[in-house]
Structures are given as structure tokens and as C-alpha cells.
């Protein structure tokens, strides 16, 4: 069982939902990111999603674009991110999922990437511009390394697509809450409950929801319907200003944690 699967099995047994914060590696620099990862691990993250900076992030809104740009200015690339995860492993026991666009991984070499990622302590990978239709080579490289491949589903996904994508996902399924790019929003989309239900009806995998989840109240609402809550831009935005960065991070993630934990998780579904 992968570290991600173990984490969800444990959460399920404890009737808890996963909190999955997202930050961009190298924003504002690698040393700070290391401190951020340690803080996240300490204050209640169940999994951590770590962004690999890319020059042309078409699925990201302005907040994550700026973060990637800052990291690129520092010269941070995939090699540095893998080394960072290796370093963080001394203090971080939670699963780490890399979020990277496809080209940096492709240029690194798919096989080499899967070997190096798993030996650095990376547990899974999310690639927003790689639908499973194009992922045959990646899957072949990832499976023997026990690297989970987490694919995305969106409100536009048809029933056939949901089945197809879920079948190729391991670890969990990433449910994009809205038609749009990453970023903070005032409210959650209305059809999210229905989308999660449609996904859950075809797969036993945990379903985690991301995009636009901006406040503790949003996080609580998502925790009522999904197995995990992914919070990205709201955290990345908070990290943009340097003053008392880690303290503010700790406070916000703590608020998210408490909001999620107020949810009464019902019957444990047999898996």
C-alpha cells in the first residue's frame, strides 16, 4: 500500500477528512519552502502538494503564476524540488505530491523522474496538462516505482470520462471544483456536491477537491462531501508578503484544520 493509500485508510478509520495544502517550491526561495513544509507538517496537513515552477502554467490564475515566476527567478527547477523533498523528509512524514506541468518532467526523462522522485520521498504526481489519454509512458514508468498518478476530473467531465480517468488514477482523484483556473473565489460552485457524487459513484478511490477553496468555511463545506480538501492559492497568496510569514501560515492552516474537523463524518464506507 502506498503512503497516500495508507494515509487515507487511516483517516477513514479515524473518520477524518484530509487537509492538503499547496505551496510552490522555491517561492520565495528553497530554504523558506523547507521551513514552510516543516510548518505545514507540524500544524495539521495530512498530505502536502508541492508545486514545481513552470514558465507557462495554463491552468493557474495570477496568484500561482506569480509564485512560479518568483521561483523561476531564483532558478528553481525540478532537480532542486526533488532535492528539497529529500531534505524535508527528515521532518515531514506526510505524503508529498508533486504538482508539475508535463514539460519539465518530460525533459527530465520519465523513467529517471519516477526513479528519482520516489527515492527522494515523493509519493505521487499531479500533472495538470497531462490527461490520462496521453499518459501511457508515464504510467509505465511510475507503476514499478510505486509513484501514485493522480489525474484530474472537472465539471465538464462526462460519465465515460470519469470512469476512464478514475481507472488510471491511484492514490486519490483530484476533483477540480469549477470550470476555470486556480485562484481564490468568494464562494464555492453550486454543482460541486453533484460532481463529487458522480465521481464517488464510479470509484472507490478517495476524492479530493481543489481550485477556489479559499476560506475555512469553504474547507468545511468541502469536507462534508469529499475525502480531502486542497487549498492552494489562498495559502500561496498569504505567503507573498514576508512579514511573519510562518506565523500567519500556521494560524491559517490551523483555522482550516479546525474547520474541517468540525465536520461529522458519517458511515465509514467499506473500501
Amino acid at each position: 500500500m502506498s503512503r497516500i493509500a495508507e494515509t487515507f485508510a487511516r483517516l477513514r478509520a479515524e473518520r477524518q477528512r484530509a487537509l492538503i495544502p499547496f505551496v510552490v517550491a522555491g517561492d520565495p526561495d528553497l530554504d523558506t519552502t523547507l521551513e514552510i513544509l516543516r510548518t505545514l507538517a507540524r500544524v495539521g496537513a495530512d498530505l502536502i502538494e508541492l508545486g514545481v515552477p513552470f514558465s507557462d502554467p495554463i491552468a493557474d490564475g495570477p496568484i500561482n503564476q506569480r509564485a512560479a515566476q518568483r521561483a523561476l527567478t531564483m532558478g528553481v527547477g525540478l532537480t532542486d524540488v526533488l532535492a528539497l523533498v529529500g531534505k524535508a523528509r527528515a521532518d515531514v512524514r506526510q505524503p508529498v505530491v508533486l504538482l508539475s506541468y508535463y514539460n519539465p518532467i518530460l525533459q527530465y526523462g520519465l523513467r529517471r523522474f519516477c526513479i528519482d522522485a520516489s527515492s527522494s520521498g515523493v509519493d505521487g504526481v499531479v500533472i495538470p496538462d497531462l490527461p490520462p489519454d496521453e499518459s501511457e509512458e508515464l504510467l509505465a514508468a511510475a507503476r514499478p516505482r510505486k509513484l501514485d498518478t493522480i489525474f484530474l476530473l472537472a465539471p465538464t467531465s462526462t460519465g465515460d470520462r470519469i470512469r476512464f480517468v478514475a481507472e488510471r488514477s491511484t492514490g486519490f482523484v483530484y476533483c477540480v471544483s469549477l470550470t476555470g483556473v486556480t485562484g481564490t473565489r468568494d464562494r464555492l460552485p453550486e454543482d460541486i456536491r453533484d460532481l463529487v457524487r458522480r465521481i464517488k459513484s464510479v470509484t472507490p478511490l478517495p476524492v479530493c477537491v481543489g481550485f477556489g477553496i479559499s476560506t475555512p468555511d469553504h474547507a468545511r463545506q468541502i469536507a462534508e462531501i469529499a475525502d480531502g480538501v486542497i487549498v492552494g492559492s489562498a495559502i500561496v497568496s498569504l505567503l507573498e508578503t514576508p512579514e511573519r510569514r510562518l506565523e500567519r501560515l500556521e494560524a491559517f492552516v490551523g483555522d482550516l484544520r479546525r474547520a474541517i474537523d468540525t465536520v461529522q463524518v458519517g458511515e465509514v464506507r467499506p473500501s
Binding site: 495554463i58 506541468y101 490527461p131 489525474f151 470550470t179
Partner: protein
């Protein structure tokens, strides 16, 4: 020669590397395109607008003074510069906007570099009374001020893109983000043979009218096929439109890329000459990038060629040797710009001025009984102001 080895692939190039949100939209587009590509009514409607509204067929013109000046092969110009809106771009936007109408989409978005594709999209949208928004890098808006005004006059909204290099690449990023957000109501009119499947094939098919006409015209004029085709390549739509109908004939094809300040300076946009395969904007194709897979900033005097990617079918042509790709510098392109103006009284756009410039190298190597066709993809009105700052008359 078999071009599309499997759906949406040219050899290993192409594919559909997009966020999941767009996959159903691309499947819908593919199905609609496959349906209408063989639909007689759709094709005759498109043919009607291309003829009566856009001004097709465009002439094939024997450039006698240019031929004389350079010495060597007879040079024919395929005059896409004479089309409505001043460039080949309208062949494609007419096709895509007609398709959008059939699909019931009311809102059109597009990206633009030089502004020609934006103008051609705004034109088609105005003619059919559709809402149109065009993304354009803020640096390109400065370089192509006149086209910004034209688009606005045509009723389109021009949205400045301030991210990254503020040029075509970033305009495409922003248009894709818009499409991800408004995918249910919006048709994204991509301006070149780039992007995820089915765009490279669809845009090529709409632009192939250039090569089909040229093939018939040169045959009528000389009684045989040309020896060589020459066209500039940014994303590569005018080149592919000219090349594709000749792909099975033994005609030499040369694509001319933007060499900027010179390949060795790194300040250029010569993707096929100096790039390596990678994934950008939905397709696997040659790409200007660093070893870590980050996309390189590019430079060209011509906004329409200032792009780090290229259509996947060109990547296939390069690897298979079907076409050859070369580059000329900004300076050489400006000389080509002046050369065509002074020998033929035709001011080309800075994009095809690159192809004109390469003729100075190519034409003298071919004997006078040989002939070549140059894809004159657009006229230079839009560039006159910009060029006047770079050239002394």
C-alpha cells in the same frame, strides 16, 4: 507518405496535452469538424465567403524584377497579401467562425501576435454578429498599434496580456485560461497550426486552399509543378497551407524561421532550427526551452514569428526530411522587406519578408528554367511604422 500516423499525431508529434476541463470540448470540436469537413453545404458556404468576401482566389504573380535581380530560378508570389484584412489568416478564421456557428457557440476568443489573426477573427465575428475577445501581449500591442485599433474598430475587445514575455506565447496562455473558464459557451479560434488536436489538422485544412490554388495556377502557367516552395514559419500556418497540397509531389519545401539577432545570441525564434521536442500549448513539438524544460523567451523583429513553439506537423516534416528549415536575422528580413518593395512595388509584412530575404541565398542556386513559389502571407501596412524606425530609406 502517411502524415497522420494515429489520430492527432504526425509521427510522434502532436497530441492533446490539456487540462481535463478542455478534453470534452476538444472531443466535441473534433466531432463537429469531422462532420462538417465532408459536408457539402458547409464547404460551399465557406467557399462562398472565401470568394465573395475575402477575395479568393489570390493571384500567383511572376515576380520578374525580383527574379532578374537575384538571378536564378523564376520566382512566383502567392499573393495572400491581397486578401481581405491583408493576410492569409482570414482563410482559417472564416472556417472556424462558420464552424462555431454550426456548433451554437456565440462567443469567440482568439490570441494574436502581429494582430493579423486578431483582425481576421474580429472581422469574421463582426460579419456574423458574434461577441469577440482577443488576447494580445502588451509588447505586441505597442509594436502593432494599428492592428489594435482595427480590432477595436471591428467591435472586438482587445485584452492586454502582461505576463511573461508579453508576446504571442503569453497571449495563448491567457486565451487558454479564458477557454478553461468559459468552455461551455466559447469557441477558441486558434490562429496557427499549433495547439491540441484537432487544431493543427483543422487549421492546416482551412489554410490548404493556398497550396491547392497555387498548384493549379503554376501548372496552368508553366505546365508543370514548381521545383521549390518557400514560406516563413512562426507557428507555421501559411507554410503548411502552401506545403500540404504538394506533400506527395517531389517538390522541395523550405520553411524560413526568425533568426532574430542571430542564432548564436539566443535572441531569436527559430524553433525548428535551434529547438528540441517538448510540450507547450497542448502539443508535443519542437520548442525553444532550457534543459529543465522551461520555455525560453524569444525575440524577433516580427511579432507574428515571435513564438517559441511550432506546429507539430512541421516537426514531423523536419525529422522526416520532407521539408528543410532555415533562419534569417532581423536585419536580413528588413533587407528583404525593402528588396520586395523596390523590385516589385509590393511591401510585404515583416513575416514573409523573412522568406523573401532567404531567396537571396536560395534563388541563385537554382537554374533559370527552375521555378519556385514564395508564400507572400501578408502585406506590410501594419509594419510600416515599426520598420520606419529601423530602416533609413
Amino acid at each position: 507518405m502517411s502524415i497522420e500516423t494515429r489520430k492527432g499525431r504526425f509521427g510522434e508529434y502532436g497530441g492533446r496535452y490539456v487540462p481535463e476541463t478542455l478534453v470534452p470540448a476538444l472531443e466535441e470540436l473534433e466531432a463537429a469538424y469531422e462532420r462538417y469537413v465532408g459536408d457539402a453545404e458547409f464547404q460551399s458556404e465557406l467557399a462562398y465567403y472565401l470568394k465573395r468576401y475575402c477575395g479568393r482566389p489570390t493571384p500567383l504573380y511572376f515576380a520578374h524584377r525580383l527574379t532578374q535581380t537575384l538571378g536564378g530560378a523564376k520566382i512566383y508570389l502567392k499573393r495572400e497579401d491581397l486578401l481581405h484584412t491583408g493576410a492569409h489568416k482570414i482563410n482559417n478564421t472564416m472556417g472556424q467562425v462558420l464552424l462555431a456557428r454550426r456548433m451554437g457557440k456565440r462567443r469567440i476568443i482568439a490570441e494574436t501576435g502581429a494582430g493579423q489573426h486578431g483582425v481576421a477573427t474580429a472581422t469574421a465575428a463582426a460579419m456574423f454578429g458574434m461577441e469577440c475577445e482577443v488576447y494580445m501581449g502588451s509588447e505586441d500591442m505597442v509594436r502593432q498599434e494599428l492592428n489594435v485599433f482595427r480590432m477595436r474598430l471591428l467591435g472586438a475587445q482587445v485584452i492586454p496580456v502582461e505576463t511573461g514575455s508579453k508576446t504571442l506565447k503569453d497571449a495563448i496562455n491567457e486565451a487558454m485560461r479564458d477557454w478553461v473558464t468559459n468552455v461551455r459557451t466559447t469557441f477558441y479560434v486558434i490562429g496557427s497550426v499549433v495547439g491540441p488536436h484537432p487544431y493543427p489538422s483543422m487549421v492546416r485544412d482551412f489554410q490548404s486552399v493556398i497550396g491547392r490554388e497555387a498548384r493549379a495556377q503554376i501548372f496552368e502557367e508553366t505546365g508543370r509543378l514548381p521545383d521549390c516552395l518557400v514560406a516563413c514559419v512562426g507557428g507555421g500556418s501559411n507554410a503548411m497551407g502552401l506545403f500540404h497540397p504538394f506533400r506527395d509531389a517531389g517538390v522541395r519545401m523550405v520553411g524560413v524561421e526568425a533568426g532574430g539577432l542571430g542564432i548564436s545570441t539566443g535572441q531569436h525564434a527559430a524553433t525548428l532550427v535551434a529547438g528540441a521536442p517538448g510540450v507547450l500549448h497542448g502539443a508535443y513539438s519542437y520548442l525553444l526551452q532550457d534543459v529543465g524544460g522551461q520555455v525560453h523567451p524569444t525575440h524577433s523583429v516580427s511579432a507574428g514569428l515571435d513564438y517559441p513553439g511550432v506546429g507539430p506537423e512541421h516537426s514531423f516534416y523536419k525529422d522526416s526530411g520532407r521539408a528543410e528549415y532555415v533562419s534569417v536575422t532581423d536585419q536580413e528580413a528588413l533587407e528583404g522587406f525593402r528588396l520586395l518593395a523596390q523590385t516589385e512595388g509590393i511591401i510585404p509584412a515583416l513575416e514573409p519578408a523573412h522568406a523573401v530575404a532567404y531567396l537571396r541565398t536560395l534563388a541563385p542556386t537554382l537554374r533559370p528554367e527552375r521555378s519556385l513559389i514564395l508564400g507572400l502571407s501578408g502585406r506590410g501596412d501594419k509594419d510600416v511604422q515599426h520598420a520606419s524606425r529601423l530602416l533609413s530609406p
